[in-house]
């Protein structure tokens, strides 16, 4: 099986139903994508597949074999991702930071699909959990990134 991740091709030999998360983390050593719940509850494992946010902890790797996968490792290679990261820094969003890879990629996916989201659009897209309670800063950062996008 071959995966396309951040523009590079990676041959992988794993059981086809292995969650993408663990292929990224253990097989390919890309640990920016986090394990939180394994059950699509928290969103810490969010990556983009063909621009759409997916929960990699419940995504069988075979189902994204033909997709363009983008992970947090490449977020600043993307012009929208750059703006999101800049807004995250401006608003000093992260606390512990563990959920933030998924938050940043969720915001990047939103702004790639919808350059000028309403607050309702932001609320619909930004549903990942944050135990530190950075939600308000996340919303403010997404708004800023949208304004500069």
């Amino acid at each position: 099986m071959e995966l396309t991740i951040n523009g590079s091709r990676h041959p992988v030999e794993v059981e086809p139903d292995t969650p993408l998360l663990w292929v990224l983390r253990d097989t390919l050593g890309m640990t920016g994508t986090k394990y939180g719940c394994g059950l699509s509850q928290c969103g810490a494992c969010t990556v983009l597949a063909d621009g759409h946010p997916i929960r990699s902890c419940v995504t069988p790797v075979e189902s994204v074999a033909g997709a363009e996968i983008m992970t947090i490792e490449a977020v600043t290679d993307d012009p929208v991702g750059q703006k999101v990261v800049a807004a995250w820094v401006d608003h000093q969003v992260p606390q512990c930071g563990y959920c933030q890879s998924g938050q940043v990629l969720s915001a990047t996916a939103l702004l790639k699909q919808n350059a000028h989201p309403t607050d309702a659009d932001i609320a619909t897209a930004m549903v990942n959990l944050c135990r530190c309670g950075t939600y308000t800063a996340i919303t403010a950062a997404v708004r800023q990134a949208a304004e500069t996008a």
């Binding site: 663990w22 986090k34 947090i72 969003v93 606390q95 890879s101 609320a123 549903v127 800063a137 996340i138």
Partner: protein
């Protein structure tokens, strides 16, 4: 107000001795030069991950003079040739901002912009035992209890750099000054970068503290400023590494299946051979209360561990905290509520009994709060390697390196100085990463790594974590209050029933109350002439732990909500009553008025908001961890559920270091406090916690986050804590608002248990 115990609410250590192994060989002071750091870098190259170095503790010998913690510059600071500073902090970063706040404090006196600091958590060692001979990150203590020593440390290092520069430039010491990162000789116009004199400075003795002049507050550039957090860029780009992200050459991945109830032990495994043949599986390990699987990836180890069909045998008679098969949180609540006795007094003023007997009105109520899970997003893990020299090296999320070193030594059967502890940043902690025996993965990883002869990274799945987390205790408080004929409180009797985490882990003397069981009932500032606060200890069958704001997380809910009940019974407005009971306390009067002003003036309601819905507000005060906090919440009811719109918090931590971090911490504290108020409870049935993931244990989602307004009041009082104090005021302010809106006084959490049908 001060802490309820001399140690506050973080745990004291259990090992005051046993660390005499540290101390620099030649007794000189700034010995590190760059050796330690370069050594760490070389190690990192070998390992392929960025890891903290072994640090001074492992390189030292026994017969050294006693070390005064927090004084030896070399143990903390390393100034590199490029002028950047490596700072080994005693405390770990887990979101609370300590990796930025302490560089602000040290940098202020060292005269280096905090932005030029690189920060890592210091290894075990006597230099870092800043809390009366122990160290931990907790109790909201890091900054307030190291502030003076860290300033002096920065000033000492600056003094040594000045001395080295005086020699180099051949000018009198007194003619030199500094500007950020440079020593300046104004008379000749010459200057030297810190990096150019750091090595020479390193060979100088520590200056006499009497020779040091600290900066005047008026001249502070970084202390008191909203300096950007040093860890944010890496956390916004996925580069920050947590324990779970680290790996070692030749490492095996580990997963476990825990016994459903604590102290059950693994018996026969029906499908052991089949599981051993699953892809990638290396070995299966019987462990105390668990079976572990090692494999070539975590997913394979996890799937194998979940597949195991284990015959769990009942606990051995007398096993410590064996979980009974019939235990339930519901029954525990009933037991505590009905337990007879007045408890052991913790605070007593006046004659409560007589005052109650003669009171015009007596108010009574019993309150309950559930077990809570930490639910930090990073699951616990342990990366463990047995080295060829007989040392054991561990990378573990932890809030107390020396305590983990001691516990790991015990688990491994080796001396503590043979255990090397690395402390990566924490993906949330909230009290999760203390030593809790059965709630820590490393005692499982150590024997598995030994048996396999290879490094092991053990990660607990979310389900296994929910099964073994050390939960916030379930608690009950019983109140009786007496009011006079004017409706004013004259007597208050409060009894906390249950067990506190301090007593559990550090011992409670017989006939002594546990401060962590009563804090938040005790330490209240109101002028009520006859008061008694007591603890009725009843041991908890569950494994209990410290949870953000510890006893305050429930007790301020109990006491501040009951205060509103007293106000209602006496026909008093709850805000006006608090002001009256605080009229002799200028600091708290100012604070209470500040939160009212922040919210646009006190109004209880119910009132009709701009959206046409009925709303009301509640107020609460708390005195946790050396800080003072006043909170107002505004709520409405939608579909029978409580909706919290705004929370206003005025916090007086005395003095501050970074207002932006304080605002972020208070906002986050409101989130977790509201999560506990509205949603969270660990329910035990048949001895087993029912929820194993966030689907069964919801935590506050983004769409329930209120708007949080924070005002910092810097009264100049001794510095208080920041990480926890925002939590305790949230549950009572919300519950008081709900009572004002609905007329229903809810005395148990979470509020999601109650449907407010037809209300408002």
């Amino acid at each position: 107000m001060t802490d309820q115990s001399p140690l506050g609410s973080g745990p004291p250590g259990r090992q005051k001795a046993g660390h005499r192994n540290a101390g620099h060989r030649d007794g000189s002071i700034l010995k590190l030069s760059r050796r330690g750091f370069l050594g760490a870098s070389a190690g990192a190259l070998v390992l392929g991950v960025a890891l903290p170095g072994r640090g001074p503790a492992q390189a030292q010998e026994a017969e050294e003079p006693a070390i005064e913690p927090g004084t030896r510059v070399s143990a903390f600071l390393e100034i590199r040739p490029d002028g950047s500073v490596l700072f080994r902090t005693p405390f770990i970063e887990g979101g609370q901002g300590v990796f930025t706040a302490l560089p602000q404090v040290v940098g202020e006196e060292l005269d280096v912009d905090p932005a030029h600091f690189t920060v890592e958590c210091a290894p075990p060692g006597p230099d870092y035992l800043l809390f009366d001979g122990i160290r931990f990150t907790g109790g909201s203590m890091s900054v307030r209890r190291s502030y003076d020593r860290m300033r002096t440390l920065g000033a000492s290092a600056r003094h040594m750099l000045l001395q080295a520069a005086a020699t180099r430039l051949d000018v009198p010491f007194a003619e030199l000054s500094t500007e950020p990162g440079r020593v300046v000789h104004a008379a000749s116009g010459r200057s030297l970068a810190y990096g150019d004199v750091a090595e020479a400075a390193a060979s100088l003795p520590l200056p006499d503290p009497a020779d040091l002049t600290l900066r005047a507050r008026a001249d502070f550039r970084w202390i008191g400023a909203s300096v950007s957090r040093l860890d944010i860029p890496d956390k916004a780009t996925g580069k920050a590494q947590f324990a779970i992200d680290l790996s070692l050459d030749d490492m095996l991945h580990g997963a476990v299946q825990h016994a459903p109830r604590l102290r059950m032990e693994p018996g026969a495994i029906a499908n052991e051979a089949q599981v051993r043949d699953m892809p990638g599986v290396h070995s299966i390990h019987r462990l105390p209360g668990a079976v572990g699987v090692l494999a070539d990836s975590w997913w394979r180890a996890h799937r194998a561990a979940e597949t195991l069909q284990i015959d769990w045998t009942e606990a051995e008679p007398g096993a410590d905290h064996a979980m009974p098969a019939d235990f339930s949180s519901e029954e525990r609540t009933a037991t505590l509520s009905a337990a007879p006795g007045e408890g052991i007094a913790f605070e007593a003023n006046g004659d409560v009994r007589a005052a109650l007997d003669s009171a015009a009105t007596v108010v009574e109520a019993t309150y309950t709060a559930p077990y809570l899970a930490h639910a930090q997003l990073e699951p616990p893990s342990a990366l463990v390697r047995w080295n060829d020299d007989g040392t054991l090296e561990m990378w573990v999320p932890n809030q107390a390196p020396e305590m983990f070193q001691g516990a790991a030594a015990k688990a491994a059967g080796i001396a503590p100085e043979k255990v090397i502890i690395h402390s990566p940043m924490l993906g949330g902690f909230f009290g999760r990463h203390f030593i809790y025996d059965t709630a820590n993965p490393f005692p499982q990883a150590i024997p598995m790594a030994k048996a396999a002869g290879r490094p092991v990274k053990l990660i607990w799945s979310r389900e296994q974590e929910f099964l073994r987390d050390a939960v916030r205790p379930l608690g009950v408080a019983r109140f009786r209050a007496g009011l006079d004929e004017n409706g004013l409180p004259v007597a208050l009797d409060a009894v906390a029933v249950g067990e506190g985490p301090m007593g559990r882990w550090f011992g409670r003397k017989p006939d002594t109350a546990d401060s962590s069981a009563v804090e938040g009932l005790s330490g209240k500032p109101y002028a009520i002439p006859n008061r008694r606060v007591a603890h009725l200890p009843i041991d908890d069958p569950a494994i209990i732990g410290f949870w953000r704001s510890v006893g305050h997380s429930m007790n301020d809910f109990f006491s501040e909500t009951f205060l509103d009940e007293m106000a209602d019974a006496g026909g008093q407005d709850p805000y006006a009553l608090r002001l009256r009971l605080l009229e002799d306390n200028a600091r708290l009067t100012t604070l209470l008025k500040a939160v009212a002003e922040l919210s646009g003036g006190w109004k209880r309601g119910p009132f009709t908001a701009d959206d046409g819905r009925r709303r009301a507000r509640g107020v609460a005060m708390a005195s946790p961890f050396g800080s003072e906090v006043a909170t107002i919440a505004e709520v409405s009811i939608a579909d029978g559920r409580v909706r919290v719109h705004d929370v206003w918090v005025a916090i007086d931590p005395g003095r501050i270091v970074n207002p932006a971090i304080i605002e972020a911490q208070v906002t986050g504290a409101v989130a977790i406090g509201l999560s506990a108020t509205l949603l969270e409870e660990v329910v035990y049935k048949d001895g087993v916690p029912q929820a194993r993931n966030y689907d069964g244990y919801p935590i506050l989602p983004p769409d329930q986050m209120p708007t949080v307004h924070v005002r910092i009041v810097e009264s100049g009082a001794p510095m208080g804590g920041i990480g926890e104090p925002g939590v305790p005021g949230v549950p009572p302010s919300v519950a008081n608002a709900v009572a004002a809106l609905t007329g229903r006084r809810v005395r148990s959490l979470p509020l999601s248990r109650t449907r407010f049908e037809g209300a408002a």
